[in-house]
Amino acid sequence: MQNYRKITGVMLVMLTGFASADDSVSYSRDVRPILSQFCFKCHGPDELTRQGGLRLDHSESAFGPGDSGAIAVVPGSVDKSELVRRIASHEDDVVMPPATSKLTLTDTQKDVLKQWISNGAKYEMHWAFESPKKAEPPTVHDKLWNQNAIDRFAYSKLTELGLTPQHPGTPYEQIRRVYLDLVGLPPNAEAADQFAANPSEAAYEKIVDDLLQSPDYGERWARKWLDLARYADTNGYEKDKARTIWPYRDWVINALQNDMPFDQFTIAQLAGDMLPNPTLDQKIATGFHRNTMLNEEGGIDPLEFRFYAMTDRTATTGTVWLGLTMGCAQCHTHKYDPISHHEYYGMFALLNNADEPELPIPDKNAVAKKADVDRKIEELTFKLADRFPVPMETIWLVPEATNPQSAQGTTIALEANNIVRAQAPAKTTDSFTITLKVPAGSYDRLQLEALSDPALPSKGPGLTEHGNFVLTELTASLNDSPIKLTEASADFAQSGFPANHAIDGVPNTGWAIHGPGPWNVDRKLTVKFEKSLVLDGEQRLSVRLDHNFGSNHVLGKFRISLGKPVDNDVPVEVRRQELLTKRFDEWIQEQSLKVNTWEIANPVSATSTTPLLTILDDKSILATGDFKKADTYVVDFDSLPAGVTGLQLEAIPDERLPKGGPGAVYYEGPIGDFFLSEVTVSQKDQVLKINEASQSYASGGNIAAKCIDGDKQSGWSIDGGQRRRHVAVFKFEKPTDTAGPVSISMLCERWYAPGMGRFRWSYTTQPVGSANDLAMDVAKLLKSPVDRWTSNDRNLVMKAFLDRTPELAEARKEIDGLRDSLIPSLSTLAMRERPSNNPRVTYRYHRGEFLQPRDEVQPHTPLVLSDKTKQPTNRLEFAKWLVSPSNPLTARVTVNRAWEAFFGRGLVRTAQDFGYQGDSPTHPEMLDYLALDFIAKGWSLKKLHKQIVMSQAYRQSSEVRPESLAKDPDNRWLSRGPRVRLDAEVVRDQSLAISGLLSKKRGGPSVFPQQPANVTTEGTYGSLAWTVSSGEDQFRRSLYTFTKRTSPFALTATFDAPSGEACVARRDITNTPMQALSLLNDVTFMQAARELGKSTVNAKGDDHEKLADLFRKILVRPATKDELDALLDYYSHQRTRLKEGQLPANKIATDSTSENLTDADAIQRAAWTLVARVIMNLDEAVTK
């Protein structure tokens, strides 16, 4: 392969006209590339690896004595230059580069160096670090090529090299190329014919102008920018969960569509959040650097992977705007370019001072909506009182159950609320007896609740493996005399096992509940008495449940109640009011025993191991910034009185927290949750012992008591209760003896970062009840005598009651729904500059390793590009600097990328590297001209694109003449038009467009076109069920396809689309057998071929005309006679096979089972489908 390089090198020398090393040797063009590749590693900018005290990238050092005393370069004197002696030497310990480097200079390279020294060893500034120079485009004698500045530069270069340009492409070639380039879709035959009929300059310009205005343009160019932004719809790494950041993608589309000036486009993406009064759009734009990956693998250090994200941001910024390989300076000073290790972290620091929240995207009329919804909730809450359920037929009473018995000796026991539970395993058959203590009253029916429970097999209610049971007989007796039962009904009965079988006296029939739909749920059986039981005093009623069906069909959990008829003479409203009042009073009674009057403790300081704790006006504390896997918060409080019996911790939701809090978990764990592992309270260095804890809500077994068990692996968490306030109460072993300040230490530790987000502490001196989530003012009222309540107080408490009482759960659903409707359903990842009191410090990391931070680094840009005295100090200033006239690179790099998009390679062929190791521009004057012109025309990308596509250079025929192939094999001198394989997305979009399948729906969530489901499931840890989108969403433009980083969409990946794991400045363009397989066999292309087959059958004309039209649909230009002949031949051959039944016409013609085709129709469609498939597979079809 070195041979190849050599040849290319020689060829270059020949072509650029300096055949031998004479006085035309230039430092920038000829010498530095050699020094950079062979010498700078040890004699370059990096002082840590510098050998012999010599650097060759600087004249000062090169011309002075090195450590050995010898002078490397003596200008004008080859003989005295140590460098020459060393490169010429054959001795192992003298020769340079040394054998260990495994590099060898060619003779040509040695000659170049010698010639340079002999000419005076003139050093020059690297072209890319100097401001672009204004150059007048040369006048050329060819009239056609003297109209556009690009052509004047290009033509004079061609002439200089003894090359001639190609003739202009045919109108068909030109229109297809400019369509595919500007909008990523082909023209239709009508547009092409129109242009072919009048291929004037004006007609071409009209086409270009229309395309630039077409909404397809924004989508086409957004995809290119998304490569740089490493956009994807998942987080990457192991779990690779889905993320929502498509609002950023849509922002890019709109910005490019509207031709947002590139300087504004830059500033919005890097620092939109820091602009004065930023708009929502400007904040969304900051998603650019949120496209970095997020590792959610178990037990990772989140700050380590944040560090990796920052190195990505630094490198990406370098690539996108500066065209520099900044990433090389992460571990040490750049080996080739003048970027020090310190400067790398200076740029890192400029980007480092931001938090990374999810930005809620509210509905457009969110504020109005909120006021409206709040009012409705208020109204509906009070109306709840009118919906308090009143029994219309029966009032149910649950009598005290006693002494449950099993005839077969199954363990059977009473639980709270008179529920009876039988333990698995069940006996084959069994009979349970329960005795009820029934108070005085009149009763006319009995109810059996069969209860489901997670602890039962299949959740019950029965004890069989599947949770069913058969109640073969229910009998009841009062004082040993049987009660006659008349009528049984159930809310559900299994077919063949109706309710009345439970009272029919037949021992092997019964009531069972297996059925369609979920049936492991609570069920009720109601049985009427023949006549009412009238009891004067408490009596014992015995109920027997027989299960004689066998095979363990025995009930696992149940409860029995008795019913009496409602007194229908009293109006419902009156009864409701009575019942409500009764329940309300009972509730007040219950709650007043439980609640405490809490006094808010006054925090005086709040510090933590990592996040910033801010004391808010309401004395709650908000944690922001970074979080670790273990963080301790310490909050010191003002003096508390003596006799404090316990503390209350409120976990408070807040929109600033992930998912609204109250926790700060933002990755891997339950988002918005926290995990409070330990709570320690101390007073004057004395730990106050806590012996009891309770909570209003906990997820699973993570209860508040786990915060005081000394085990750091256990704790309190609230997953499932995000966006709600939760309370934990901690009771002291004994009341405090003395008044005094108190300090509370809270450890949040988990294998992910589980910090509390917002919380508040309060205390009480009363006996401590258990935690509940009543607001503190309501709790206070409940502790005060009811008769002193004002009507307002009573309303407040009533509201709390209506909000919680279980009878109204169903009625409250409407209110819950309204509350949920206020939660912004959409958010996107964005940046938010940190508050000034919590700046993030940046260090220089030794060897680029996260665990080796060294000296602190202040924000600054590389000095080779900037003025030491005018340094940006933050992200916004940095973004502005990038697009300021003093930065020599941004405009050149941007123009070069645009050039590459049209010609396949940039004027600087290493689009991602403008440094010493990169290629020099093929047309330096043109590059500078275009860069300055770009700025002068207001950074307009559309104007730049127009300038390029209007050029003759672009519109040439792409036919490769032998002369052009020999002297300009890769078309760097523009001796022919660009002929490049289409981008992956364009390959797919084109097939959808020509077949009529393409949906032009714009923006919104990403979609899932057809592909085998196992592409995203098989062998991937973060597996994703690829559920194909319905309707037109299957056929959207490819930039809307859901991009999963660890298993990208197979079709586009095959055609070199990136995975979004890293910034891609230039896609490889490969040509592989896998692409052939994909075009031949992939479902998408087959689908398109079928559509084309169908429309061809329906098209006008004979086979010949049909074929000509089909060909033009795909390739735009008319087919040649040879082509038509070959295809017709293929067509008739396949049609014969189809007719003869050798090929299954129906299968080929359609993939739909519902489509009924006649044989003739199927044969025609199949034959044309096959023809369409062939044309779509032609090289020309996937090449512009």
């Binding site: 037990g299 062998g1019 794991e1061 592989t1072 896998m1074 031949l1080 016409a1145 096959l1170």
Partner: protein, 491 residues
Amino acid sequence: MNIDPSAVQVARRHFLNECGIGLGKAALGSLLVGGMPRSNAADAVQSNPLAAKQPHFPGKAKAVIHLFMAGAPSHLDLFDYKPELTKLEGKPLPESVIMGQRYAFIRPDAAVMGPRFEFAKHGQSGLEIANVFEHLPKIADDICLIRSVKTDQFNHAPAQIFFNTGFSQPGRPSLGSWVLYGLGAETEDLPAFVVMSTGAGISGGAANWSSGFLPTLYTGARLRNQGDPILNVASPDGIDSEAQLASLDAVNKLNKQRLAMIGDPEIATRIANYEMAFRLQSSAPNLMNLKEESAETIAMYGCEPDKPSFARACLLARRMVERGVRFINIYHEGWDAHSDVVGNHKGNLKATEQATVALVQDLKRLGMLDSTLVIWGGEFGRTPMIESNASLGRANGRDHHPQAYTMWMAGGGTKAGFQYGKTDDLGFHVVENPVHTHDLQATIMHCLGFDHERLTYRHAGRDFRLTDVHGSVVKDLLSPSAILGTSATPS
């Protein structure tokens, strides 16, 4: 629909005779003189980027089968016997041993857990391994066991990616891609770098077989367990071999007309790729057809021919090596025993051990072991400390441990019946002959005939290599004949 293998012969003749554009390696090369320099890979690797190439010096290994035990098996329970741990069971390790190491789930003061299996010695080499192995003793004298492997990463995805690409973040080329880039392919009928997987999903995902910044044609091809073994390798429903061939014929005929008209050599490459695609369509089903194998062979591997399994993957790997496939990854993910290391490892051994051993024996029997490097191991080791956490329902497991673990290799120029490296009495740190991931990579490249420092690729202004700026060949692991070449001159 699969391609009938006999159709390929027809196709070959057809392309060669009637179309007059048979594009085998030679013809392709000549057509492409001066063409295709579109990416710098093409610049670097002559005309056909997959043409077989000579390495820096003659390597012993022509192919690699990497059995990646993803999730990380416990060296302490399987390979590296530490009775001292039994003595210390229940007590924490001293801080001087831990030295600030971070862990994923446990706290550094977690108690020690002794080896969960008995150990015994096997073969003439006296290979000391746990008694839980039923089959491995049979190849005790064939393998080269390294007890001193260490890595930089302690989380699965980064560590797997690190092992495969020499870097912990996605984006660099994988071992297999480097090998293809350096050696090219010896088959035009199958992908030269194939990836199979069984068990759970792989943490590191596609980054493990990505070509990184190398051209995408060096990416590992997934051989899938469901659907087409290679994506789109079957023709659409209803299109038989003859129709597919006729279609290709038409495509290539028209492409040839276009080539004559336009003169772009890229069209010639496209023509060649269509021919290769067609051959792939027939060789893939042929590869998968295990009916060709004897009942005895099937039984030796312990696989069911039609059921995807680790065992079947091993047998397919052998068939691929026979067909010239260069690099094969078989992932078995599931060794991540945070709880119940005994149950976990027994289960994984049941799924993998017999076939692993059968693969080595089979290669040996067929005389292919010398030229095939088999690599077995995970991305890191496991802690001497127990992982137990009631709130997570975990007990008797071990956490991730990057400082020391065990791997083995066989064939391809490695020493047979050899044990290497030593850890301390706790199995915590390496105390003798450390082999860092980069050293292992350098050694693997050496087996294939490469100086790992010289197989480089220019990307983003720098010459990158698999081993970054580290790694040295561990000559101790190589058989004498394979050491040759370390001082070879540049080719």
